[in-house]
Symmetry: C2
Subunit: 126 residues, 2 copies
Amino acid sequence: MKVYSISEAAAKLHIPESTIRYYEKKGLLPQVERDEAGRRLFSEDLITFLGIIIYLKNTHMPISRIKQYVDLVVEGESTIELRLEMMKQHKQAVLAEIALMHEALKGIDVKITRYTTYTQERKAAK
Amino acid sequence: MKVYSISEAAAKLHIPESTIRYYEKKGLLPQVERDEAGRRLFSEDLITFLGIIIYLKNTHMPISRIKQYVDLVVEGESTIELRLEMMKQHKQAVLAEIALMHEALKGIDVKITRYTTYTQERKAAK
DNA sequence: TGTTGACTTAAACCATGGTTTAAGTCGTAT
DNA sequence: ATACGACTTAAACCATGGTTTAAGTCAACA
């Protein structure tokens, strides 16, 4: 199984290397292997795991909470129910946030409609 | 027409007074009237306007960009086309962000499914 | 009259989520 | 042998979006 350097992992995930180091320091990447020279080695599995962290980040889960999740993963199978509850709860929070954004979009659409109408009328009057 | 105090405006919009003061300082609330004692007076129109700012904020428009929009509003009717373009562009950005969140939700759903299956099997094995 | 309560200000403070810098260590290609 | 590129670290720095604090003013009520 191939392992990747930090630069390769960063390229695969489209994030800066510095962010990966930051996440590791924050405890979001437990047990990253190193080579003899101390360089990080990223397995496919670890890159997949980091992908999930990025999903959580993209849905605005705070790093402190992602860390709680990672800690449960590290703890092992006994925490699967807790993880399930966490993911369910997060999903609801995300859906609520999306709903809020849709609500705001309605207000923005009202503006777009008004401005469009005004612009059309200006054009017609020319 | 009734005017509202900052505490009333804050209650109506469900935001802290401190945030309203902060927004004013950042230039998002042009020409807030004051009474003889120097207290801010919020008309219905101003509260509506602040509502739009909150919509923009809830869809993650940066304050610096909201300020640009407000400046266009202050400038008058000649900027309506620019405002229209701005709102259209923002709408696209918001839709893109929502799409990203939906994508992430798919990955989260995979976890929910896995964890649920595992939990069901544990229960069945009891 | 004096003490609340609601307001004012400027400035300091805070959390979040990184990014950048400086100084150093390797492994490899010339 | 050396110089280059990729990596390492800790610590400093940054932007964003507020919140909190301290000190003061003012109106109205007891």
